[in-house]
Symmetry: D2
Subunit: 341 residues, 4 copies
């Protein structure tokens, strides 16, 4: 059931043209005259009406507005699947009572440093190691990542620590090599609407961590998840990482309200990345605590043994010592909201 | 010390004019030639340079940019006063270990309902009753508040329950009547840059709860606090209540990162209003928990015995039962961050 | 006619409660069951439903969403009055074929300078002199205006040049003195939702130039106009002056699309203020040209004989020479869109 | 020359560590003590400092802020090349006195319709035909484009009309086929920071039309152009198409001030796409006029013979008749700003 609002004084033949168009799509127009506006209630399965068709109606003479009642995503929707999705990876169940932490450096830089970080974050209680081998950088003159060499270092850390690997895919041409090494494939914020990349990870079987785009609404974010799911891969994890606003005191504005909003709309697990969300190391711990209190299923935290020498995002990385302290401090908060970490 | 960046190929006489202007203000220009840009370091007490004077320099021929190093606010700054400000009201100390909760309806509507709400929120652990007698409404056709009659109802509830009163001032002409009844004067988000109102509350002695404007940066918010403090009233409480972004799933985007950012920049107590921040009752509880975890000094929560009949903001008000449940759930989170509630 | 969308599996008694509430308001509920959602069409004069009542319905059990079909403003709406409003002041008709230009300094600083500016802008073709005697400044340490003294200078310029006066009102307590000197009362962006100020100017007879708030939607802006008009003053001029976005290259983002959008929605005259919109003098001329091309009814441009010494907003003020040049360059553009200047 | 602002009470050994780090990069630290802050002026060629290195300094103990004086882009900068870049394609010179218009449907749907549109827009004065064969759509259930078949239709229209072809590349794997048919390769807003795609078009010789991202600052947009140019392709055309703001009355907020801002910062040609910028057909003509008045080098306008049946973006497409009318109306405005169309 959708609603078409007509302009005042719309002519009968204009209404007939709309009704005819709907009929061609197997739908029925149900006219209601109000005191100031006439509306058409569209009867039938309107979930089949695409955005394009909606816009086509919107462009017809006599139409003032079209109001959609159904959500444009299905597979990602809680209407479609009411039970929470859980994703199991090497003994870790994402979306369960336990809050999982993905930790590691922004970029993979060096094998020794990475192993060191891996050991430290495992000891502190992280379940996954993260690190970018392919890096999306705003400047062509910045460090672009080590490529497959970096993925090999991650594999080495996995062997040494038992931590499964989370790493980013930027280019559909790298899918095979990333799938070979990653346990979770990360899609970065700047690629949230790189639709070809979404289709590509939709066709593989690895879980996908889908970061929210800088200016993506929650609806658009769920549509991006729908892209992946529509190709067969139901293992999508959403990751809030801050949106762009007018405020410049923080790198982005971490929208923690997206967590309970998403819990209502979708069955998919939801993570929060406070490191990118705020961009300053001293703000990471309080925001991680808030994320646990608000109901996140997991955290993604940047950790580096030497932030001053990090090739990427040093200013927002925790030192292992601070990460360990944070992990301890999160425990009673998790318990307070009926979770564990 | 401020920095003036010159355009490439600025002429000597243009530089001299800038130096002369600075000299007139008792400052010295210190020229540094780099390979691509020449800059002027301004030596002396640049904290006296107003925004106007900064802009005057910016408009001079040859000037590309002016970079300020000092913050434009002083009294509100932690540089000025490193110790946390605490504010004592009828035995409650705001800005202390204890997290205080201000609860009540959006608008004062009716004496019986208000007393009922007051009793319920006090039992549940609130320290203050709130309620608007003067209401800023986006529509002239909406309920505008009961005026002094409403303030009298609040006074009555205070007598009955012992809860001090928080209520909004919208118009400098109402200051006397509001001061008479309020224990904390609220300045609403839409009036955060109503500078005459700020000066007015700066000249009275009542503590002021200053809500963040919908599109106010943290710097502008602190400048608004500075307005109040510059007139002598140091008892300012900042209240985060969400900013305007492109996201429409929530009424506003509650920027919880403002709490730790402010804790670094200012000594003033910081409250969070999750009710206006999200605008939907089912999101209030998780965001209140996150606010406690992130380090807030207090909460402002809308409670109504019958949200369906509320004359204002019913869709974001908790029922007393849900408020009581929330207060209990906040306790272990407060404890986890070294606070009590 | 409004639409209430019900949650899936809403119970019959919940629907009955909604229907009963509507009945109490003199409206009828018309139930339509779709394949996935049931909706209630509200029959009757729904224009009487206030925002509060809308929210009350939104908070009822079983309600997923409420969709309004009618606009919340009436007097300001083109549905209410299809003919363009024109406003006549000392022989100038705002909202007519002629594009009017309001020019002058940001703040009134000095009588001699002001007279000089007044003469120059009149020669160049401006119809009104502007200048602030009461200034809303983000810092309490910035120049706050000369007060009534400044208004007297404006009156003096009016006498000397014949230019009617546009000046800002910030405080309802200043209304009498401002009305005495102003031909158009300006309500600044930061006061667009200072509802008491709006009611005050609504009760006087002087035309009001209502600037768009920094984060105001077009709907909220028209609601602010409605406030004024609801008190009897129909002479409201809307003035686009830029909105706050994430972009920092300009002071604000001048939203020129608001002009044609407003031309569809309202009968009120629309002005554009490129000076505040961009905040940099070299951008004022191209944006003024664009504003004329897009269909503005007038411009508000800051002009100062010596921007480097201006006490406010020097960096965005044109020198008289540049203003004269701009006025000439605007003529063929105005002609190209069927206007004159 | 860059500036490092130190925190109050920074220790000598902390300053020494910073100085040592700078020395390793071949730079010298020049300490200036002010009354309230000490700053380090960095002497030497700081243009080599990457964003990563800047952030590494930002994360050092004792550092409060880092201020960059030089722009992070070079090849795209007017400092690097002061003369306007012009791009010649089949006799059309982009970036010259003549304003060029790219017109056509959003998506290529059907050969006959496309030829018809091509003929109509050529007659009306367009210089290029546009049409998407690969379409980035927010829903996986929307029409995704005809692929190479669509490119062949464009080639056919080019043959019949002589109009060179502008079409979008979404996936680096499609570069060969797109290069084969396109005269200008379009990079869409959602791919503005798809860095692999940028590198790919940087390595080919075809001119690139780079649309501004929905939440991209002008600086980030120029950095995206720098990506392309850093690989050897200097023929980049920037295209403003609206940014995401809180306003929902238009699809996006077309930021026309970006045109004069960019004219100062870069030598590259700048186009404006009013169709996507506003998203409603009745707003396209006024915004196109404003774009010409503000100084654009070209326009990108969606035209469709039957918007009601368009498979994509029908609601913002002009009918050929309206497009022809608009082209005529643009002529005197172009003349008024010293251009032709």
């Amino acid at each position: 059931m959708d609603i078409i609002v007509l302009k005042p004084k719309t002519k009968k033949e204009e209404i007939n043209r709309i009704a005819k168009k709907l009929k061609r799509w197997g739908l029925t127009a149900n006219l209601s005259k109000g005191t100031e506006r006439t509306i058409i209630g569209v009867i039938g399965d309107t979930s089949k009406i695409t955005e394009d068709e909606e816009n086509a109606i919107r462009s017809m003479v006599g139409v003032e507005d079209v109001m959609r009642i159904l959500k444009p995503y299905k597979l990602a929707s809680r209407d479609f699947r009411s039970k929470d999705t859980t994703i199991s990876i090497m003994g870790h169940t994402l979306g369960s009572k336990k809050i999982h932490v993905i930790a590691g450096p922004c970029a993979v830089e060096n094998k020794t440093i990475l192993i060191n970080i891996g050991k430290k974050v495992r000891e502190a209680g992280a379940s996954f190691i993260r690190g970018g081998a392919f890096k999306p950088r705003t400047s062509p003159y910045s460090f672009q990542g080590l490529g497959e060499e970096g993925l090999k270092y991650l594999a080495h850390v996995k062997k040494q620590t038992g931590l499964p690997v989370v790493t980013e895919l930027m280019d559909p041409r790298d899918i095979d090599v990333v799938v070979k090494y990653a346990d979770i494939i990360q899609i970065g914020a700047r690629n949230m609407q790189n639709f070809r990349l979404l289709l590509e990870v939709g066709m593989c079987k690895k879980p996908v961590l889908l970061k929210r785009g800088l200016s993506a609404t929650i609806k658009e974010w769920l549509m991006a998840a729908e892209y992946i799911m529509s190709k067969g891969n139901q293992n999508v994890i959403l990751c809030e990482r801050g949106i762009r606003t007018f405020e410049t005191a923080t790198r982005n504005t971490l929208d923690l309200s997206s967590v309970p909003v998403l819990k209502n709309l979708t069955h998919l697990p939801i993570f929060v990345d406070p490191s990118h969300g705020v961009g300053k190391m001293e703000l990471v711990a309080p925001m991680a605590k808030a994320a646990v209190a608000v109901g996140t299923d997991g955290l993604l935290i940047e950790v580096h043994t030497n932030p001053e020498e990090a090739l990427s995002d040093g200013e927002q990385s925790l030192r292992p010592h601070d990460f360990r302290k944070l992990m301890k401090e999160l425990k009673p908060i998790a318990a307070a909201v009926g979770r564990e970490i």
